[in-house]
Amino acid sequence: MFSDYSMSELGAIFAMQGFAGLILFSVFVLMALGLAIIFGQMGVINMAHGEFMILGAYVTYLMSNLFSAYMPGLFSAYFFVAMILAFIASGALGLLVEWAMIRHLYKRPLDTLLATWGLSLILQQIYRSVFGAREVGVTIPDWMMGSMPVTDLIEVPINGIFVMVLAVSISIAVYVLMFKSTWGRQVRAINQNRVMAGAVGINTEWTDRLTFGIGCGVAGVAGSAFTMIGSTGPTAGQLYIVDTFLVVVFGGAASLLGTIASAFSISQAQSIMEFFLSGSMAKVLTLLTIVGILMIRPQGLFALKLRK
């Protein structure tokens, strides 16, 4: 399959597909970060994670319309406002959901899975009723359009670079939150030993709620970033949910670094194979490889050593 291309062309193909893989990687990282917080730290399976992401995307869509209608002068900056609002909207919904539903189910992880799936169906239907069944796209500000030529053969789109920068900055933010802030210390303490964490005076209930909220908020930001490279429909979240769970499980549930490493390897493998095989076969092969590796190493790539 390589014989049809010259060496320099092959190099360019790998670079371009690699870059496409980097964009996919950024999307995976953004989606998986929220899940790594919720699933990795709390052990809660949130099947509605994709819908929290879509909420962020719809908030961005609303902001884009609002700014172009009332504040065209500030349009080039609307995205940053939208991102903050997306975080607040998804985070607030997350807090509400945790309070109403999740907190009753901490001891029954499989039931959480079913209940959040139900939640995802309800949210999908609400999106469909409010925004219509058709996919909507946002207007991308001018400065994000176009692409940057690197060499004669290789070009990279600017919105892709922007999403990558976003993914990196949010990863750093989550890392700092997780490992440097009081909240992060509390979350990790609860993950390691809930009873002892409560005994030393950590408000475990409130920390759980906040953790779930922040995880959902990060998903909202991911959805916001997602609008820069694709359109949004009511069921778009469902398309990514299995991939995202696999990313988190493959990386080792409790490890942020593992999540990023697995998002990287999965996205690169998929996008490079996509060029040579059909898209569906590339996806099948990628998924099968992940499942195969998980069978050999069920704890994922990077596992925390914990006494359970």
């Binding site: 539903m101 009753h104 899975l113 079913l114 139900g118 995802s120 299995v242 769970f245 069920p298």
Partner: protein, 376 residues
């Protein structure tokens, strides 16, 4: 759970008899052939739900990939029926007569080798059970001997559902793609599309369902059934008692897969097609809700669950299509939050004591295994 070691306690005999009366007498009398065929379709999901009661309710293994086994069983049946429907006379207008139409559309000129055995009904019937079981066995051995369980198992089975759907849709020339295998006509020359055939198939389906129910009841009453429950509640203690936990899990997972495969084959026969929309993540997780609504601990409850949820789905999506998803979502949440033991739990808590009081007997002998143990 109940203490009786008999195969069927008295209330269980009544339960089975009531279900038999509903399936074999009430529904055929009350419904026209079209509706009866619909209920036959719902009952094919009951096969999956009964398997899930064993895997999930008794064994604590939640598989979100039962659609895979349902689909494999259904596809095995559909492949045989498709080959029978694709005689050279029927397909004379194709560029290669004698192969299924979708292969011709995808420029295939010969039947692929792995389709060849499906010319034989005996092989197809064997494959309906064997293919899902072999598949489940491979997954089971790989997962359970590595002690993967709980939510990880659920996510990975879900990935399998995704993989199979993508594969079927992607390999259009071999599988019929997103449309599935359609236009099935006869079974050994017997037209399955007539009203009469549909009624006969409904009864065949009912008899098979009862065979599956008795098999499930046998497993529940055997030592294996008790070990499954012990494993669900305290896996390590069972392991330390010297049992090989993985083997029991593999067995029950394979059994659930076999049930699902039979259900899938009956689906194909009664509905007349098989498509990837019945295989993927969404249908697989809906199958879990049939089981959860009926009561995850009760095999009879699972049958009612499949009937009630599907009937509600048809009724609501006919009259209020936009409300159905809200209703289904609400059902998921309600059944988890408020009724963890489903209809069977409601029956055991509220209905059975009143019936018992009515007949002035002790209420100790309840619906099969319902609501005595907390969920999970």
């Amino acid at each position: 759970m109940e203490t009786s070691n008999r195969f069927l306690s008295r209330s269980e005999i009544i339960g089975f008899a009531v279900l038999a009366a509903v399936i074999f007498i009430v529904l055929p009398v009350a419904l026209d052939t079209f509706r009866l065929n619909l209920f036959g379709k719902y009952l094919t999901y009951a096969f999956v739900a009964v398997g899930l009661v064993l895997c999930w309710g008794a064994g604590g293994i939640l598989s979100l990939g039962q659609g895979v086994f349902f689909g494999l069983g259904g596809y095995c049946m559909a492949m045989f029926l498709k080959l029978e429907a694709s005689t050279p006379e029927n397909t004379a207008i194709q560029s290669t007569p004698g192969i299924p139409d979708f292969m011709d559309w995808n420029q295939l000129t010969a039947l692929p080798a792995w389709w060849q055995p499906f010319n034989s009904l005996a092989f197809a019937l064997l494959a309906v059970v064997a293919v899902p079981v072999i598949f489940a066995f491979i997954i089971g051995v790989a997962m359970f001997t590595r002690r993967v369980g709980g939510v990880y198992f659920a996510i990975i089975t879900q990935a399998f559902a995704a993989i199979l759907t993508i594969l079927i849709i992607g390999q259009q020339g071999y599988t019929g793609g997103v449309n599935g295998i359609t236009d099935l006509r006869t079974l050994l020359g017997w037209d399955i599309r007539t009203d009469e055939a549909k009624e006969i198939l409904y009864y065949v389906n009912g008899v098979l369902l009862f065979a599956v129910l008795f098999a499930a009841q046998y497993v529940r009453k055997s030592k294996l059934g008790r070990l499954l429950i012990a494993m669900r509640d305290q896996e390590d203690r069972v392991r330390f008692s010297g049992y090989n936990v993985a083997n029991f899990k593999i067995f029950v997972f394979c059994l659930g897969a076999a049930f699902a495969g039979i259900g899938g084959a009956m689906f194909t026969l009664q509905v007349g097609f098989m498509s990837p929309t019945l295989v993927g993540i969404v249908p697989s997780i809906e199958m879990v809700i049939f089981c959860a609504v009926g009561g995850r601990l009760s095999i009879l409850g699972a049958v009612y669950g499949a009937l009630v949820v599907n009937w509600a789905k048809t009724t609501f999506s006919e009259s209020f299509p936009e409300l159905w998803l809200l209703g289904l979502g609400g059902l998921f949440i309600a059944v988890v939050m408020a009724f963890p033991n489903g209809l069977a739990g409601v029956y055991a808590e509220h209905v059975a004591p009143r019936i018992a009081k009515l007949f002035n007997k002790s209420a100790g002998d309840d619906m099969p295994g319902a609501a005595k143990t907390p969920a999970e």
